[in-house]
Symmetry: C2
Subunit: 141 residues, 2 copies
DNA sequence: GTTGCAAACGATAACGATTCTCAATATAGA
DNA sequence: TCTATATTGAGAATCGTTATCGTTTGCAAC
């Protein structure tokens, strides 16, 4: 249950937090901005202050429930931290975001950090390109 | 000469642009924010409007003279586009930025994009960790 | 070397994303 | 149920960045 997840994270169980967490679990798009989350909730009749959305997301991140990404598009995007680590490829034409995991790259990153004398704690890898989805190609004009 | 570089880029040769380009070439730090560039110029007695700094950087980027990066620290950082492509590793303690190039990772990125049906156009890879420079370790407190 | 005019400049207003403030309200434990 | 404390929502404030606009400059034709 979502309320358990909040309690386990050391957070009080409040209506806004439950609504936001539930949306993150059920939305078709895994990667969303704070604005998008705010808007989707509002469209579903759940009006929650934008400041509260930002606050909840910051707390969820601190608790390890979600991760944030800074794609080149500007706005911060959030996603539920479920399943194994992965990186992203973003379509520069339609905005589609896909996930991938590459053992070779992950391993090389560790070797590079070590060889430069760094204690590696995180990394951000995003590929940018044009996807081949029919919808995207259609709008190619 | 810097003025040639501006002309070749199709830009008028103006005092602010020359000052900014020269700073980018001579500064000890290759990776700087717009604010830092503005401040370093001001400290050197070259007062240039902040808006002009942003404008010049945008034009330099469009002309391919510089590249911009979005590290997790928030602000956009700029660097002269000289020499071969590289990625970055950033110290989360002292902010040091180092560069690296890894042929294996570059190759895997191309393969991943291709296997997902994307026409790869760019990528951003940044590693985060703690460096082992004496200065950084000293302030470990 | 002047002149003319588009391009660029600087100051500052505006902007979008995010964070802060604070009075009102809800949560969780006694 | 009662209370102490955390959380909320509305809006102000902040931060980095971009747009506006009157003034100045680069530069090419005279
Ligand atoms: Mn993801
Ligand atoms: Mn670099
Ligand atoms: Zn696409
Ligand atoms: Zn360091």
């Amino acid at each position: 249950m979502d309320s358990d997840e909040l309690r386990n994270a050391g957070l009080k169980v409040t209506t806004p937090r439950l609504k936001i967490l539930t949306l993150l679990e059920n939305a078709t798009e895994r990667h969303m901005t704070a604005e998008t989350i705010y808007r989707l909730l509002a469209e579903g009749g759940e009006v929650i202050g934008l400041a509260t959305v930002y606050r909840a997301l910051a707390q969820f991140e601190a608790a390890g429930l979600i991760t944030r990404h800074h794609f080149d598009s500007g706005q911060t995007v959030y996603e539920l931290e479920r399943g194994p680590h992965h990186d992203h490829i973003v379509c520069i034409r339609c905005g589609r975001v896909e996930e991938f995991y590459d053992k070779v790259i992950e391993e090389r990153q560790r070797e590079i950090a070590a060889s430069l004398g760094y204690k590696l704690s995180d990394h951000a890898l995003t590929l940018y390109g044009e996807c081949n989805s029919p919808d995207c190609l259609a709008g190619k004009g």
